[in-house]
Amino acid sequence: MRHSVTLSVNGIDHPLELEPDRSLLRALRDDIGLTGTKEGCDDSECGACMVLVGGRPVNSCSYLALQAAGRPVTTVEGLAGPNGDLHPLQRAFLAEGGVQCGFCTPGMLMSAAALLEANPSPTEHEVRQALAGNLCRCTGYTGIVSAILSVAGADPDAR
């Protein structure tokens, strides 16, 4: 039986009728049409589906859409500013060679955004620990880690 629910995604309310077992990932991709969030394993192991729910990173493949009711959801499409200005993390990922195939990138960016929100000046060790749930097969993580550190080292007001 479907349930009425309103999901707030990137500041926009989406009224939906969802089965109780609908994952947040499928609601985002199939019901709302935001395909920036990726499915890599459907098992909470790869982190490609990472989004923020109430500011905290969750693997949306293993999170029920109905659980997200009443909590703001942020996806990679919500990172850039309203006029399209890239988020500092997005710019840094490009500048530092942290993007290759791009499939892990949305999830990486969301984990990184959550980290910097909780810990504005992480050490490299803390960055690497925070990314341990996001798999990348292209970069060896070097460019991604240095991108996050470059933003963390920047003036917090500029973020």
Binding site: K38, G97, C101, F103, P106, N134, G140, Y141
Partner: protein, 788 residues
């Protein structure tokens, strides 16, 4: 710059970059970068067409068996199911890159657990699953062949009961029983070489099956318009996929268009032709567009592109002064149920176990063996990491036998300019020794801080291939490249903008691409064999240089100067020494357009030749790789810590020195090295398929990312990189004397890590991955068998 950047590329990170210095550019923002960081980039699984159905496959589920009955009639009645197909619905066309040994769906016999038996298309994934559940399949078990050495034994059950003599996909393939590709390297006189030796050292090494694991699983969407089908696929090789669809469905190649949206990595796992035809056949039967998206489990079990389990034996003769006089090696590739591209990869494997040494007398034999496992084939540097690990582990043991330091021993025996390769090619300027010196320096080799440090050296080929490109310079001074090339994520296609930008004197951010669409660009071999920059780079340079000449000629008229006095820089044509006399490239292009001339050019430059391999004429089965064209040489050094209580190995640092010839895009090349090393650490320590026992024999037990462990950010090493530039002659290599870059970085890592583990523990492991339990067992012989 006022120009609209290609595909919205930003200017961040490229300020201060001198566009005249391609080879020294510090930073380059790829044109597909902004879509990828904003979530706008669409991958195959993101596509949705009106009326699109979802596909699911039914698998044989057993390593070897005969299909006793297959009844899909009930599945066709399941609500929402619009098509169910099996091999009975298709022409009996066989396919295969080396041996045409398979059909799209199982034909009577199931040869591995992931063999596709039937496919369902339905209005939802759930309905498709219900359709699968309604199919009645009975498979009678047959004896399974699971061990590659037993598969070679007299009287072993045959995975393919009957050979068809015309099934070989090319001439020169040597087959016998379960062996679908016997290959040799013969150099000098190996027995005479052993007679010269003071010592003979032997070793045996075994590698487990491992996987490509792109983070994007396979996805395919097919849509028919009349008798033409458009297929959006997560393939690395769209033109090869196109040929496969045509061959298996029995339709003209011209009726098939393959388009790759963004590709979420491949690493070989998406090479060759895979599921495009299955989905096209479903779409034709259902009269609807159909989409297939693989689960992670399917990703491990079904495709015919996983890393081969390999068995290697070495016997090396060496003099007391450390000079190697002879080497005899044998390598067996377990190709699984189908030959895929393995037979030609055994040619590569024999070169890998021969190695980049000058050893004068060699006899290497390679076997390609069928078994009832997931078929194996090209995965990034296929057979490279395993072959290099086996050889380099053995070389450390040979060095120890004569009491020499491993670096010193290698420097004595490594090939140099003028030396002869395993099959007779004579090396030009190569950086093999310099790579080793630099890798050793970078890691601080011999500083004696009590940690385990190991080195490994290796080599890999470039892959000359047919190529072509169209380039157009627009009246606004931007440019478009139309190429068949495939961007797998490495940035190889995006970085073609550097070459085109330099040739046309424009900002590379002003170069956009129409690519990975078989109806648009010229034929291309795809993102395989590290070939994109090597081949397509030559094509775009040649095409752009044709436009450059026309721009200069027209500008010479406009500036009333001689062409020889002009330079093309920063979007302008300038008179050298008189910078006030200038005209923008855009103004020249606009002037041409106003007079009815479009600045477009195409080129298909000649394919660089294979090296002479006179000595290789004695070799058997060398049909595809008689020698290594424009070979890259490299060395890596690793530092490890080993926990003696748990057997856990931690790789703290890897230093890499690579001779890629001229490095065209340092950011991209560095990214390939770093990513390759992370992959190599995984192969060394954690990435290996575990097969079940008893009822689950021949079936993968860890076909998921919880149990098959990739390297994460938390355990990736600190990486330092050095480029040793030994440019190839222009007509023998890639643009500006470059070599292939993509595959080599993952080749030597496992060998370096293994030698570091041996240095740290005093124990040699003979099987990869070196999991904690294997290391723990090896560190105490009484704890159990240390490996294969």
């Amino acid at each position: 710059m006022g120009r609209v950047a290609a595909a919205g590329a930003t200017r961040e990170g490229v300020e201060g970059v001198d566009t005249r210095e391609v080879g020294r550019r510090a930073s380059f923002v790829r044109a597909d970068g902004v879509p990828k960081v904003t979530g706008q980039a669409r991958y195959a699984a993101d596509l949705r067409l009106p009326g699109m159905l979802e596909a699911r496959f039914l698998y044989g589920g057993t390593p070897h068996g005969r299909i006793a009955s297959l009844d899909v009639s009930a599945a066709r009645q399941v609500p929402g199911v619009l098509a169910v197909i099996t091999q009975a619905d298709l022409p009996p066309n066989r396919y295969g890159m080396c041996v045409k040994d398979r059909t799209l769906f199982a034909d009577d016999v199931v040869r591995y657990e992931g063999e596709i038996v039937a496919a369902v298309a339905a209005t939802s994934r759930e309905a498709a699953e219900a359709g699968l559940a309604a199919i009645r399949l009975e498979v009678e078990p047959l004896p399974a062949v699971l061990d590659p050495e037993e598969a070679l034994a007299e009287g072993a059950p045959l995975v393919h009961e009957s050979w068809s003599e015309d099934a070989s996909a090319y001439e020169g393939l040597v087959r016998n029983g379960n062996d679908c590709g016997y290959v040799t390297v013969v150099k000098g006189d190996v027995e005479a070489g052993f007679a010269d030796a003071d010592l003979v050292v032997e070793g045996r090494f075994v590698s487990d099956m491992a996987h490509a694991v792109p983070i994007e699983p396979h996805a395919v969407v097919a849509d028919w318009q009349g008798d033409r089908v458009t297929i959006w696929s997560s393939t690395q090789v769209p033109f090869i996929a196109r040929a496969g669809v045509a061959e298996t469905l029995g339709i003209p190649e011209g009726n098939v268009r393959i388009v790759v949206p963004h590709l979420g990595g491949g690493f070989g796992g998406k090479c060759d032709f895979h599921f495009e035809a299955h989905v096209a056949a479903l779409a034709r039967a259902a009269r609807r567009p159909v989409r297939l998206v693989f689960t992670r489990h399917e990703e491990f079990v079904v495709p015919d592109k996983v890393r081969h389990p390999m068995v290697m034996t070495f016997r090396t003769g060496v003099r007391r002064d450390g000079v190697m006089t002879a080497s005899r090696a044998r390598v067996i590739l377990d190709t699984g149920a189908y030959a895929s591209d393995s037979s030609m990869l055994t040619e590569v494997a024999t070169m890998m176990v021969a190695g980049p040494y000058r050893t004068p007398n060699l006899l290497v034999e390679g076997h390609t063996v069928y078994s009832n496992k997931t078929p194996c084939g090209s995965v990034r540097a296929p057979t490279g990491p395993e072959g290099c690990w086996g050889l380099e582990s053995h070389i450390d043991e040979v060095a120890a036998a004569v009491g020499m330091d491993p670096v010193e021993f290698r420097l004595l025996n490594l090939a140099d300019e003028g030396d002869t390769g395993p099959t007779g090619q004579v090396y030009r300027a190569i950086g093999a020794k310099e790579c080793l010196r630099q890798a050793a320096d970078l890691i601080g080799y011999g500083d004696g801080d009590g940690e385990g440090v190991g080195v490994a050296v290796g080599w890999w080929f470039s892959m000359p291939s047919a190529t072509g490109a169209h380039v157009k310079l627009n009246p606004d001074g931007s440019a478009v490249v139309v190429t068949g090339a495939q961007e797998n994520g490495s940035g190889a296609v995006m970085a073609l903008a550097l070459l085109v930008g330099e040739e046309l004197g424009i900002d590379p951010a002003g170069v956009s691409f129409v690519h990975q669409d078989t109806d648009a660009g010229p034929w291309d071999g795809g993102s395989a064999g590290s070939q994109t920059t090597f081949n397509v780079g030559r094509a775009v340079t040649a095409a752009a240089s044709g436009i450059r000449a026309r721009v200069l000629a027209r500008a010479a008229e406009m500036l009333e100067a001689s062409v020889d006095d002009l330079e093309l820089v920063e979007g302008e044509v300038r008179v050298k020494g008189a910078p006030e006399r200038r005209v923008t490239v855009a103004a020249v292009a606009q002037a041409a357009f106003d007079e009815g001339e479009q600045l477009i050019a195409s080129d298909s430059p000649p394919v660089p030749p294979m090296p002479d391999n006179v000595g290789g004429s004695a070799c058997v089965g060398r049909a595809v790789f008689p020698a290594f064209a424009a070979p890259a040489f490299f060395a890596q050094a690793a530092r490890v810590r080993v926990d003696g209580q748990t057997g856990v190995v931690r790789v703290t640092d890897v230093a890499a020195a690579h001779d890629f010839g001229r490095v065209l895009n340092p950011v991209g090349a560095r990214g390939q090295v770093e990513g390759g090393i992370a992959m190599g650490v995984g192969l060394a320590l954690s990435e290996g398929t575990v097969f079940g026992e008893g009822d689950r024999a021949g079936r993968q037990s860890n076909a998921d990312l919880l149990d098959y462990k990739l390297v994460t950010a938390a355990d990736a090493p600190t990486i330092s990189v050095s480029f040793v530039e030994r440019p190839v002659a222009e007509d023998e290599g890639g643009p500006r004397g470059s070599k292939g870059v993509g595959e080599p970085p993952c080749v030597p890592t496992a060998g370096a890590v293994a030698n570091a583990v041996a240095a740290a523990t005093g124990v040699r492991l003979r099987r990869i991955p070196m999991t904690p339990s294997r290391v723990w067992a090896a560190m105490d012989g009484s704890r159990g068998e240390a490996g294969g």
